[in-house]
Amino acid sequence: MPQRLRALAPYVVVLAIAAYFYYVASKFAFTPRGGRLGPDVWPRTILVLTMIVCVLRIAAGLRAPRGDAPADADGGLIADVAKDAGHASDAATEAPAERYPARLAIGIALTVAYVATLGVVGFAVGTFVYMLAMTVVGRYRRYGVATIVSLTGALVLMFVFMKVVYLSLPIGVAPFESVSLALMRLMGVR
């Protein structure tokens, strides 16, 4: 995809989503009350403004000479001060040297799996496994330390939130429930 189109793609996506939401808002079912604005007015105003910004941004992007930065991308007070001080790069968000999209995908998948299974496996077991897995995905290579930190972390969090903050964390279903209950007995949590 040409660079210019790639730069404009997020605005096209946002424009399409805003248009769809505008359509949804126009279908809100309500009975107008004398003289009062309906529940659709505020969201529709927001969505119209969103679409205007997207259209302006896309138009500016298409009009800009090839290879130029977006018209407003270099603006802003912070960038100005940094530039005047001769340290523009300190205030800029520089692209990292390396990206690990696979690790990111695994991290998101692990988080989704943790939330999805928390009610079944319980806080103690689920948190230990999740913390350990995320630490390894985060390129921490001292597996022994990771295991100890994950185990201790899960137990300390369980103790602090159940015993000190009186939070009712998920204990899971059998057979994991018995593990949670045993740990709770050990910690003196009722």
């Binding site: 809100f28 003289g35 977006p70 407003d72 802003g76 001080a85 990111l104 998101i108 985060g138």
Partner: protein
């Protein structure tokens, strides 16, 4: 005034209670640690501390969070100066003169200037807060819905235009946040808005899951994609602080005064914050300071200006929070959340209904400033040791606090899905350079804006000119317009400068 001092005295006495004092100490230490760690931001830290306040009485809860807030504006300065690693975005200007001074062989002097600046900014902001809050609340009692609408609009335009980067992206982020706040059952008509038949959306989306997800999980996901590759530590670890002499400090009193005013004003404006204050103060010093030509080479003014301004912004932020119930920053939004969770609604009435609480918060700010100074002077060595903790281990605890924080609000696992969703949204925003702050402010102040707008329309028979014809709302909306035009002026100025340079060649 005597009444204020009397009440403040009561506030100091209240701080002697063990619970309040412990909350203050813990807040100071945790605030500094959070600011020192590069992967954690001050707002994230305050967000992550919130679940711990659920089981606490309201006074220590608010003291804990405000102490974190104030010490968080100072902790990151230490790593900026010693290691060239800014703990917070507001500490970036400290790299230019703070690190340069340290690099020139005077790290103790640089740390001393920062400490003095944070102390001065903190004391000034606490004094201004105590002085301004009551008159501000009295004025706020006369405000009607058009004034509230105008103030929120001013906050929106400030956060969009002052933040830097693409204004279009900031607007889209803001509108997204405002749209999030409309999800759920409409209070007047009882109509489902954007719920798509999903039961959990009918209650609406609170701003806390948005904040926790976007700032907490989203930031961790960004760092995970980068392989948790922290910047390598450079420089020496000779952590000693030398406080400047009074004569030295007096010689740059102009920098102290200018930056204090900038900090407080930036704090009062919703949307502008410590980072904006820090950069503006540095920029003003570069324009009007006596030694502006030497700025960037390691002079005290370049350290004092950003540090005073960022710490001074804290009290400024607390004024609209306490007197109007309007949080102007991420951290004050969390503090507002803590107030609401304990059944207290900040606003002009709070000085009548919860005077003891308010003055204990005020008193805690004064004590927190001195505590922060002592901690910075004596505990600096163990504080910087946390930089050596592996980021993967720290991050996994950050995620856990995000998730537990979300779960603890209603003891409901479905709330965790909100965190995951807004975590991914936060990641996408960072990835495609859409700023997160406008989205969060939109989600926080969106309902205030909508209610104020609709109430005004009902009260004034759908006459929209009322926003411009009432004096206060009219002036504030004009200020909002000025804030909106500010980037256009900047763009025009840059283009003109480029043309002049081209013509000179």
């Amino acid at each position: 005034m005597l009444d204020v001092l009397h009440q403040l005295g009561g506030g100091f006495a209240g701080l002697l209670q063990v619970g309040n004092f412990v909350a203050l100490l813990v807040g100071l230490v945790v605030g500094m640690l959070v600011a020192v760690l590069p992967g954690l931001t001050l707002v994230m830290g305050v967000v992550l501390a919130l679940p711990f306040t659920y089981g606490m009485p309201i006074t220590p809860s608010i003291i804990l969070l405000t102490a974190m807030y104030i010490s968080g504006t100072y902790g990151g300065a230490i790593t900026s100066i010693l290691f060239r690693i800014p703990g917070e975005p507001m500490d970036v200007p400290l790299l230019w003169d703070g690190w340069s001074m340290a690099h020139n062989g005077e790290p103790a002097r640089a740390l001393g200037w920062t400490l003095l600046a944070a102390l001065t900014g903190g004391l000034i902001t606490a004094t201004v807060m105590v002085t301004l809050a009551v008159p501000f609340a009295k004025v706020a009692l006369t405000f009607d819905s058009p004034e509230y609408f105008a103030i929120v609009m001013f906050g929106f335009t400030s956060v969009v235009t002052l933040g830097g980067g693409s204004v279009a992206n900031a607007f889209i982020s803001l509108f997204f946040g405002m749209l999030i706040s409309t999800v759920g059952v409409d209070e007047i008509y009882g109509v489902d808005r954007f719920t798509f038949g999903i039961g959990m959306l009918r209650d609406g989306i609170g701003y806390l899951p948005v904040m926790v997800g976007a700032y907490g999980l989203g930031e961790v996901l960004v760092r995970l994609e980068q392989g948790f590759a922290s910047a390598p530590m450079t420089g020496t670890v000779r952590v000693k602080t030398r406080i400047p002499r009074l004569k030295e400090a007096w010689s740059i009193r102009g920098a102290f005064a200018r930056s204090s005013v900038i900090g407080v004003v930036c704090g009062i404006i919703p949307g502008a914050g410590a980072t904006i204050a820090s950069f503006i103060a540095y920029g003003v010093e570069g324009q009007y300071g006596k030694r502006r030509r030497e700025l960037g080479r390691g002079i005290p003014e370049g350290i004092v200006a950003p540090q005073v301004a960022s710490t001074a912004s804290v009290g400024g932020h607390m004024v609209p929070l306490l007197t109007l119930g309007i949080p102007g920053s991420g951290a004050t939004a969390v503090i507002l959340g803590a107030f609401l969770l304990h059944g207290v609604q900040p606003g002009p009435q709070i000085f009548d209904t919860q005077a003891a609480l308010v003055y204990q918060i005020f008193a805690s700010m004064f004590v927190a400033v001195f505590g922060m100074g002592l901690l910075g002077y004596f505990a600096i060595r163990p504080l910087v040791r946390v930089l050596y903790l592996p980021e993967a281990l720290v991050s996994v605890f950050v995620i856990m606090f995000c998730l537990i924080g979300a779960y603890s609000e209603h003891n409901n696992i479905t709330d965790l899905w909100m965190i995951v969703v807004f975590g991914v949204v936060g990641y996408l925003f960072e990835r495609y350079r859409f700023p997160i702050a406008p989205m969060v402010l939109g989600a926080i102040l969106g309902p205030v804006a909508e209610n104020a707008f609709l109430t005004s329309m009902i009260s004034y028979q759908n006459d929209w000119t009322i926003f411009f014809t009432r004096p206060v709302s009219g002036i504030v909306l004009v200020l909002a317009l000025v804030a909106l035009l500010f980037p256009l002026y900047g763009h025009w100025r840059r283009q003109r400068a480029a043309r002049l340079v081209a013509a000179a060649r």
